[in-house]
């Protein structure tokens, strides 16, 4: 039922788009058309640039996603250990979180060059603060009664951390992972916009500057598909790591 409605909605949207852009050449030039987009996707697929660009962007996104979440989650969880340290660093975390990542891009290019490293860095930066905040929130929302239970069983702080804080933060950590898939992708694309020779962001930027609107949409379609696949993978990982969740 839901899937049917989603397909119908998509069909109406694409059909309307195709119809309107078929009326005159100017609209077709400005907004592309689904059939033209599909044509570009086919050419990009046959000349290998689609696979290559998608691979490059996927690699940048995945590395940034993993690195950002690893660093953010480790720091966020370990802040549980010390209420003092977490209060000291709080304003700095807020400050870092409020920086628009795009403002860092020129410097990141200077520091990391124009290759893979700068895109991974952009992607990591887009992810790390969100991962830190969500995992810290998870660690701090552990039920104090549950901590008391562990204490009455004689648990040391490191045992409480490993056996209670980390597993009970998994819900928030996975919420963060789902959120940061998109952020990681945006970071990688911004990096490619600034300076690059390949990647979906590069393809979008190049086609845009040449006014080849359908090609922009074609690369955008590949970007959306990439985001969907990555989000699906996170969901699959969550089901794998949390088998105790009842099936819904």
């Amino acid at each position: 039922m839901v899937a049917g409605c989603q397909l119908a909605l998509l069909a109406i949207f694409l059909g309307g788009w195709e119809y309107i852009t078929s009326l005159d050449r100017q609209t077709a030039f400005l907004f592309g058309s689904p059939s033209a987009i599909f044509g570009f996707l086919k050419t990009m697929a046959t000349d290998g640039s689609l696979a290559r660009d998608t691979y490059v962007t996927a690699l940048e996104t995945l590395l940034g996603f993993l690195l950002g979440n690893l660093i953010g989650t480790l720091v966020g969880l370990s802040l549980w250990y010390s209420a003092f340290v977490s209060r000291v660093v709080q304003p700095f975390v807020v400050a870092l979180g409020s920086i628009p990542i795009i403002a860092l891009a020129p410097m990141v290019i200077i520091w990391f060059g124009t290759g893979l490293a700068s895109k991974v860095a952009m992607s990591t930066l887009s992810v790390v603060v969100v991962a830190l905040v969500t995992s810290y929130k998870g660690a701090m929302s552990v039920d104090p009664d549950q901590i008391n239970l562990f204490r009455t069983l004689g648990a040391r702080k490191s045992q409480i951390f490993r056996k209670l804080v980390v597993p009970s933060s998994l819900n928030d950590i996975f919420a963060g992972l789902k959120l940061t898939v998109g952020f990681a992708l945006i970071g990688a694309i911004i990096g490619e916009f600034m300076s690059s020779s390949e990647g979906l962001g590069h393809a979008i930027f190049k086609a845009g500057s040449l006014y080849v609107i359908p090609k922009v949409f074609a690369a955008l379609t590949a970007t959306i598909a990439l985001a969907l696949v990555l989000t699906y993978l996170v969901g699959w990982l969550e089901r794998l790591l949390k088998p105790w969740q009842p099936e819904r």
Binding site: D143, D145, Q146, L153, W244
Partner: protein, 263 residues
């Protein structure tokens, strides 16, 4: 098995306990002055008006919160940190959803560093005795409230605690489940010669399971009255205990005490 011979100090003695919380610059006295003794093999209930600091009392007794004055003696000595061989059970079952029933029960042994075949078998036997046969390897998410609290009871008993501290563990259960669980608890506590200190606001529960009931005043808390409960030898069956003629007398007397202190 336990030090219960003549002359041995009782497992738990509270002497002139007081607890005051610092709320900014205001001092909030919660427990004013409270003394009681829990002898080996005894079940003692503490009832009081809501908000009288029962949970604070329990946290002070088991060493989670330091007392402002007075002392808690376990076998005649004040322990450093957590007292040993104490089981603690709250209204919330606090089962870990990522652990199966069995590994929730073995949590305490795991923390102390040893979970082998023997420990797992012990946990399994206990779960069987509490009617959870066939559920040992399931996750608690699918359990009813009563089943969850049974797992929590097994988790408490598997560590062979000498003294059990209960903070209304049955309060959230329906009447029938509550009675069955009370009966199981009393049976398992008495069979093994353990002692139980049960904090509750349920007067009937207190009278039906206890040897002694201590009634508290409202904050700052003191002991208002102490009742020795004698229902004959019907202490094992919760329904029969409730039908004993003396049961109603005790309940009525305690009810009157609470009513007066509630106003």
């Amino acid at each position: 098995m336990h030090q219960s011979g003549p002359g041995a100090a009782p497992p738990l003695v509270a002497e002139r306990l007081a607890k005051t919380f610092d709320d900014g610059d205001v001092e909030v006295p919660v427990i004013a002055d409270l003394s009681f003794t829990l002898n080996a093999g005894e079940i003692v209930s503490i009832v009081g008006p809501s908000g009288c600091g029962k949970t604070t009392l329990l946290n002070v007794v088991c060493g989670l919160t330091p007392a402002s004055s007075g002392s808690v003696l376990w076998h005649g000595a004040a322990p450093q940190g957590m007292p040993g061989r104490v089981g603690y059970m709250l209204q919330k079952d606090m089962l870990l959803p990522w652990r199966t029933a069995l590994s929730n029960v073995t949590l305490g042994m795991e923390i102390k560093g040893k979970v082998g075949m023997e420990e797992r078998d012990k946990a399994r036997v206990l779960l069987d005795r509490l009617g959870l046969h066939g559920f040992t390897d399931r996750y608690p998410a699918t359990f009813s409230g009563g089943m969850r609290q049974r797992v929590a009871l097994a988790r408490t008993l598997v560590n062979d605690p000498e003294v059990l501290l209960f903070d209304e563990p049955f309060a959230a259960l329906d009447f029938q489940t509550k009675l069955l669980l009370e009966a199981d608890t009393v049976r398992l506590v008495r069979e093994e010669g353990r002692s139980l200190l049960c904090i509750t606001h349920d007067i009937e529960e207190a009278v039906s399971i206890s040897d002694r009931v201590i009634v508290l005043t409202k904050r700052p808390t003191r002991a208002k009255a102490v009742y020795e409960i004698d229902l004959g030898d019907q202490h094992a069956d919760m329904m029969e205990a409730r039908q004993s003629p003396r049961f109603n007398d005790h309940v009525r007397a305690i009810w009157r005490d609470l009513e007066v202190s509630g106003t």
